[in-house]
Symmetry: C2
Subunit: 485 residues, 2 copies
């Protein structure tokens, strides 16, 4: 059952990330200085310098898109109250089993217990009620990068199932249903743009009704593929309709003087899950393979020192580094570490480009350029070095994306029976089939195959070609089915 | 008692910030879109777009300095445990009365109660124990911008006394006491550099022993002046010695093979208090006066429209904006708002430069430039506009700093008796005098004058010229005394 993945990979050998994802992933997190999971409270981790750097870069990329599309950054409190959380009936039902509650302060019980935010609807919307008076106040587009807290009862896994979740949440308010629908598409485009810059591959799915966000009319989600065949929900966009504006009494005066509840959206982009996808989609047995756009270091220069030539080779390396000032570049001239150990170390960290410079390179005024994604080497004249590095970095970004999308496509298998669903899931792939739309059929599949019905394509119309594979009745949509994080 | 401040100000009229600071400050926060204090949980506020923007800019400026001085950014969890918080005896004593405690999750009591961080020593140091093995791992310099939570029992005040506190905390580990002392000076220089870029004036004081950070050997603090005569502690640097490394069992192997506990520092920079200082030191009756380095908008262009010339004036304004692309520039061409209302609005928001452009300016190919700090106007030829704006922005940054430091110096009054301390405090100024070093004399002063003994200059040696003003015995140091936030 592992066999099928041989065909999915660009290199000839099977990778540990497909053989044993958990072990490969957990080990790499610490070794590549992404995250330390030994913090004494379960579900809470420490992001080390590389993890924190990548999270910051992804955040900057997303926030730039949000800013340029008119979202205002604001900072809302960590806490809500039971009263506020309870206003929207579905919302409290969805979150009450997993919220952390602050019951005391300074050794004394609090008069009003504080709920640590699992998401910020009930924190932001009482303020929206104060801010929104007329149609001139709309649309309101607000965003915040923060941490939310959910007491996961399932087994925790670093980055993927955690209790402290770094993300960005955006909340928008619109005068009309049509504008709200438009904003759903805009939000999807914003997220797509960022994920595409990261070279990640994903499905944009409209979740089935039974799996929508608590309190939403409908939910769109980005499911990224993972080497173990599970999908990783990295972002979601929810159309809340008037569900929240009614209970939070948000009203505006229309152009013709009527009072109405506006339409609302909320959408979230999971930084830690995107970080997980970056590691697991692009990484290999040697470690991280980072798209240049998030790499803390673009180029590492390793001198291959020979006795008597130490100084001249080092000087040559620094000269080359001087030519590469527009990139994040470093000369690793540690004297107590062999070149081989340096190669191993920087490959683990996913540095996109390595330049090897020994006596021969110095003599011929060139460098040997190694690219991390394909492991290929080429020789580059020093005069051409800046251009060559630029070309290779661009190429790495593109080829990582192409490879990820190729694997995503190969992971999805179109099938037409329950037995095939079971087989596809056991092979760690994603099943695609026609479905009638009933909860019963979805549950029957879940029981049989142990995955989840993730929904139908939002970004592309897919028309059923046959009946529902479970009940044989008319199919309403083409859906994707997989195990999920 | 208000009278003395007339002399302190650059304009001829007394400002409301000196007459009635609280009212002036609270009103401005909402009107200038800094903060909304109507959030339903006491001590928690919402930072609006301008507040969030300035916090972000200050954070970027500080983090740049930290990065360039070798600090690694990491992200540590929100929570610690009672066991960890209790390890250092003074530390728990200092914080136990103000920590928020998470006692349940998902409706069920937690096995181990979680303490919401009031600061992160007890969260970071168990990890430091895992990371530090030998002298080669030192120094370790780590920083994180986050929120900390303290259940203030005194009256809350937006930005100054809040329960959710945005700050940066840095934590460092060193092999020797000498290196740790060196790092104290480096940290002070980092903070000084950022505060100086913001044009803020402050005293760098070594706190008296009875007022040091819980668990520290000694504490250095930056006290910024406030218009009501209170000082505003914006940053602190603490030398922890081996107090924490001993109880958290952090050990390293020295070059000669011995095992030792390292020396530690922690230092914090309060973003919300710095924001408060920016508003209160630089602001005036018209609103914010922002140093260009943190202003969301540098230049606003207001067309002074006359009938029939609307389009030509507007086009001219956009032409001028085109010349100012290196700044954050905006043409306010709203048609339903008068120029006067626009002036009022953008002055409130503290935009450093306004350009007024009417028919005369268009005819003569020039603009009228208004600078927010001095309220002065000058006429500038369009060809010179970029250079003129650049010069004025630089000048605003400098003159705000000069004015703040002038007021700081005038606020400090050297005195030589308890009665004078009372008088100085009632005049909303800062007293400076000789002190023997005893807790008793400090407490006697506090009881008499209602302020606090804030400590002696860290950055400059000041030698007592007479005896302790309380007991008449030999004075040990020259100290500063003020009411404080």
């Amino acid at each position: 059952m592992i066999g099928i993945f041989y065909g999915l990979m660009s290199t000839a050998t099977a990778l540990n990330k497909y053989r044993n994802f958990s072990e490969w992933f957990d080990k790499l997190l610490l070794e590549a200085r992404i995250l330390d999971d030994r913090f004494p409270v379960k579900g809470f981790s420490v992001y080390l310098e590389n993890g924190a750097y990548i999270l910051r870069r992804v955040r900057e990329m997303l926030e730039k898109e949000l800013r340029e599309t008119g979202h205002k950054e604001m900072i809302f409190p960590l806490v809500t109250t039971e009263e506020l959380l309870g206003k929207e009936a579905q919302h409290i039902k969805g979150f009450s089993t997993e919220v952390f509650v602050i019951e005391s302060a300074g050794g004394k019980p609090l008069d009003v217990k504080l709920i640590v935010r699992p998401t910020s609807e009930t924190i932001m919307y009482p303020m929206f009620k104060l801010w929104i008076r007329s149609h001139a106040d709309l649309p309101l587009l607000v965003h915040q990068s923060n941490m939310v807290y959910r007491h996961e009862t399932k087994a925790t896994r670093p980055l993927l199932r955690v209790r402290e979740i770094p993300w960005n949440e955006a909340h928008t308010v619109h005068a009309t249903a049509a504008e709200a629908e438009q904003q759903v598409k805009k939000a999807v485009e914003i997220y797509r743009k960022v994920l595409d810059q990261l070279g990640l591959a994903y499905l944009v799915l409209k979740r089935p009704d039974f799996d929508k966000f608590p309190g939403a009319r409908y939910s769109i989600a980005f499911d990224a593929w993972n080497p173990d065949g599970r999908v990783n929900q990295v972002a979601t966009v929810h159309n809340l309709g008037k569900n929240f504006s009614k209970v939070f009494e948000i009203e505006f005066e229309t152009r013709d003087g009527k009072r109405e509840n506006p339409h609302q959206l909320c959408y979230g982009f999971g930084y830690s899950r995107v970080l997980a996808a970056l590691i697991s989609q692009h990484g290999d047995d040697r470690g991280l393979v980072l798209p240049p756009v998030v790499a803390p270091l673009h180029v590492v220069i390793v001198p291959i020192v020979f006795k008597g030539q130490e100084e001249s080779i080092k000087q040559f390396c620094y000269g080359v580094a001087e030519r590469l000032q527009k990139f994040a570049v470093k000369v690793d001239d540690r004297e107590d570490v062999t070149p081989g150990e340096k190669f191993y170390y920087w490959e683990k960290l996913g540095v996109p480009v390595r330049l090897e410079i020994g006596p021969r390179e110095v003599a011929e005024n060139r460098a040997t350029l190694f690219r991390r994604d394909t492991l290929e080497k080429q020789v580059v004249a020093v005069e051409e070095i800046e251009k060559a590095v630029e070309t290779v970095l661009t190429s790495i970004g593109q080829s990582l994306a192409e490879r990820s999308w190729r694997i995503m496509r190969q992971m999805v298998v179109e099938i037409s029976s329950i037995d095939e669903v079971k087989k596809v899931i056991s092979e760690r792939r994603i099943a695609k089939f026609d479905w009638c739309g009933s909860v019963e059929c979805a549950e029957q599949l879940k029981a049989a195959a142990g995955g989840e019905l993730r929904g139908s394509r939002f970004d592309e119309l897919e028309v059923p070609s046959g009946p529902c594979i479970v009940c044989g009745k008319n199919a309403a949509e083409v859906v994707y089915f997989a195990r999920a994080y």
